[in-house]
């Protein structure tokens, strides 16, 4: 079909022509195909156990939960928050503002997705802290609250000083954020410090990125790529931690090297180090909120350093948590959230469980979840690569959650 060839070729024209003609795509009320929250007014909810399929149609989505980004601290005064009899505020699980995600990892076998999460199924924990997200974003992901322009710039300059770099140029970008659908404000976007071939970025949520335009080579004895053995990768990461100690800046750095696999079977390694000091709870917080990741380029050189240190200054409280076994029962009962467009085929497809904090910009609070890796037979490829979809069950006891998720079983 010759006309199809032209149609296809037009698809590959210069970006500028595509951008120039981009339509102003308006917000349409589209059918939500995967968000499956039950909305229960927080003021009514002292105890909600979502053990039955309460949501008759997937088209009814969170009418009582305002879209993230419309909520600001000022709009959400503490006196409106429902309280549990224990005195702890009831927690509301963040509702995503829409979209069609599909979260999960691929591998030939689940054993390849081992990581160094300090939580294990044998961990004995009765409670975990919950924190307010101090950098909540608007619906486009622009942080409304967070570090000021001066604070971001100071952090970026500190990082440059730590690395002994000479600053050529420094500035702060601006973004437009919507604090509600009709009101927009200008907020700092990112602080950028340029030091020769190295650029340092700091964003309002405290994320610091050091990017080498010309990657830095490591001493010859260290390899740095996606194909290393555990021992080799450990040696390299230990070298990087020592070399960049001022950036890593941790009392007790703990290594967390993990592998990922692409759909083509290609392997990639994540070189992560987290604050491993303190008891198990502190280690879990370090793993989820206070860590550094080193990224190689394709020639065993260091390309990027990411430094994350989320603001946990606003603790909501210590909340009782359920066991992994109880979470699995909730999972199989449908009390989970996921972006995966498949139902859980059966308990035998539950391949792995972890405890994680969901740290996304749309969370109102950072709270722990049990993360289940579910094998998805629908997506297995001929090359043997399997997909493991992510299904989350709140780890906090459901007594404390005002909108416990219920999956109504009606995807597509």
């Amino acid at each position: 079909m010759k006309n199809e060839l032209i149609f296809k070729a037009i698809g590959e024209v210069d970006d500028r022509y595509i951008l120039e003609a981009a339509p102003a795509v308006t917000r349409k009320t589209q059918k939500q195909t995967w968000v499956k929250w039950i909305a229960i007014a927080a003021c009514l909810a002292l105890f909600v156990y979502a053990g039955s399929k309460l949501l008759p149609s997937r088209d009814i989505v969170q009418p009582d939960i305002p879209p993230i980004g419309d909520i600001t601290k000022a709009d959400n005064p503490p006196e409106e928050v429902a309280m549990h009899p224990s005195g702890l505020p009831m927690l509301t699980i963040a509702a995503d503002s829409g979209g069609y995600g599909f979260e999960g990892f691929s591998a030939y076998d689940i054993s390849q997705l081992e990581n160094d999460n300090p939580w294990t199924v044998d961990s004995q924990l009765e409670s975990l802290p919950v924190f307010r997200n101090t950098t909540q974003s608007d619906s486009a992901g622009i942080p409304i609250h967070g570090l000021s322009a001066d604070e971001m710039l100071a952090r970026a300059k500190d990082a440059a000083d730590t690395l002994g770099l000479v600053i050529d140029k420094s500035y702060v970008t601006e973004e437009t954020a919507y604090i509600n659908p009709n009101e927009q404000i200008t907020v700092p976007g990112a602080a950028i410090v340029e030091c020769g071939d190295i650029e340092i970025f700091v964003w309002p949520d405290g994320w610091l990125r050091i990017m080498m335009k010309e990657s830095l080579s490591l001493p010859e004895q260290y390899k740095f790529n996606d194909d290393l053995s555990d021992e080799q990768a450990t040696e390299t990461l230990e070298y990087l931690i020592a070399e960049y100690a001022g950036i890593v800046d941790m009392k007790s750095p703990a290594l967390a090297i993990s592998a990922r696999y692409g759909r083509d079977g290609g392997r990639s390694l994540t070189y992560k180090v987290y604050e491993g000091s303190g008891d198990l709870t502190e280690k879990i917080l370090g793993y989820n909120f206070n860590y550094t990741i080193f990224c190689p380029d394709f020639d065993d050189n260091l390309h990027i350093i990411h430094r994350y240190n989320y603001d946990l200054s606003e603790k909501v409280g210590d909340y009782p948590i359920i066991s992994a076994q109880q979470a699995k029962e909730l999972l199989l009962n449908g009390n989970y959230i996921t972006s995966v467009p498949y139902e859980i085929p059966g308990p035998e497809y539950v391949k792995k469980i972890e405890l994680v904090y969901r740290v996304t910009s749309f969370e109102e609070v950072y709270m722990p979840y049990y993360l289940f890796y579910i094998e998805l037979p629908e997506t297995e490829l001929e090359n043997g690569i399997k997909s493991y979809g992510f299904y989350y069950v709140p780890a906090i006891h459901s007594d404390y959650i005002s909108n416990m998720p219920v999956w109504d079983g009606s995807f597509q």
Binding site: M1, K2, N3, E4, L5, I6, F7, K8, A9, I10, G11, E12, V13, D14, D15, Y17, I18, L19, E20, A21, A22, P23, A24, V25, T26, R27, K28, Q30, T33, D96, G98, G99, Y100, G101, F102, E103, S137, S139, A140, G141, I142, T173, E175, G189, A190, W203, W207, R209, R260, G262, S268, T270, I293, C295, F298, I304, H306, T360, S361, F362
Partner: protein, 186 residues
């Protein structure tokens, strides 16, 4: 969230990458796919697949422009699905009309002396677009990249539908002549 940061999330293998991509570009990608497929469920599937492709592509890719990077993936996936539609003789909307119109751009085979691959064709279309007036180029791209309906294009640019049609007709003729002049055959 700015695109640079979203791309970093992919490189860092953060699950937030897909969340943020979806927030920012789901409507854009859905628009592209829906215009080709005219079916919400299939368009959503293509948008989902777009995220998966993006996840698998970054790293190693670091696109200069995330929106067009995603848009191209969505468009290609949607075209593939459209082909399946055609094979199954399922109903379809704007794409059939768009393709019909583009058939007029195919250079006549008598006038050509050069075989062509897609890269050369893309380069020639780029050159052709650079020669057009901005308005003609915008209309052409809206119709043949985004597969937007004529009525919508007319509303977007404050023109009558007949004006849009006649402009597109002239532009298609110009493209045909341009390709013939450059000795392109398909």
């Amino acid at each position: 969230m700015d695109d640079d940061k979203i791309v970093e999330l992919y490189w860092e293998r953060s699950e937030d990458a897909i969340v943020q991509t979806s927030k920012k570009y789901s409507r854009y990608c859905h628009y592209i796919s829906f215009n080709i497929l005219h079916n919400n469920e299939d368009a959503e599937e293509c948008v989902n697949d777009t995220y998966l492709r993006a996840w698998n592509a970054m790293p190693p890719r670091r696109p200069d422009c995330l929106s067009t990077f995603l848009g191209r993936i969505t468009r290609n996936l949607s075209i593939d699905k459209y082909r399946k539609y055609s094979a199954e003789k399922r109903g379809f909307g704007e794409t059939a009309l768009v393709l019909e119109e583009l058939a007029e751009c195919v250079p006549s085979s008598q006038s050509v002396d050069q075989a062509i691959d897609e890269i050369v064709l893309v380069e020639e279309i780029n050159r052709f677009l650079a020669l057009l007036s901005k308005t003609d180029r915008l209309l052409f791209m809206r119709r043949y990249w985004y597969s937007s309906p004529i009525k919508e294009i007319a509303e977007a640019y404050g023109m009558s539908e007949s004006k849009v049609k006649s402009t597109l007709f002239r532009t298609r003729n110009k493209l045909k002549l341009h390709l013939e002049k450059e000795g392109i055959t398909i």
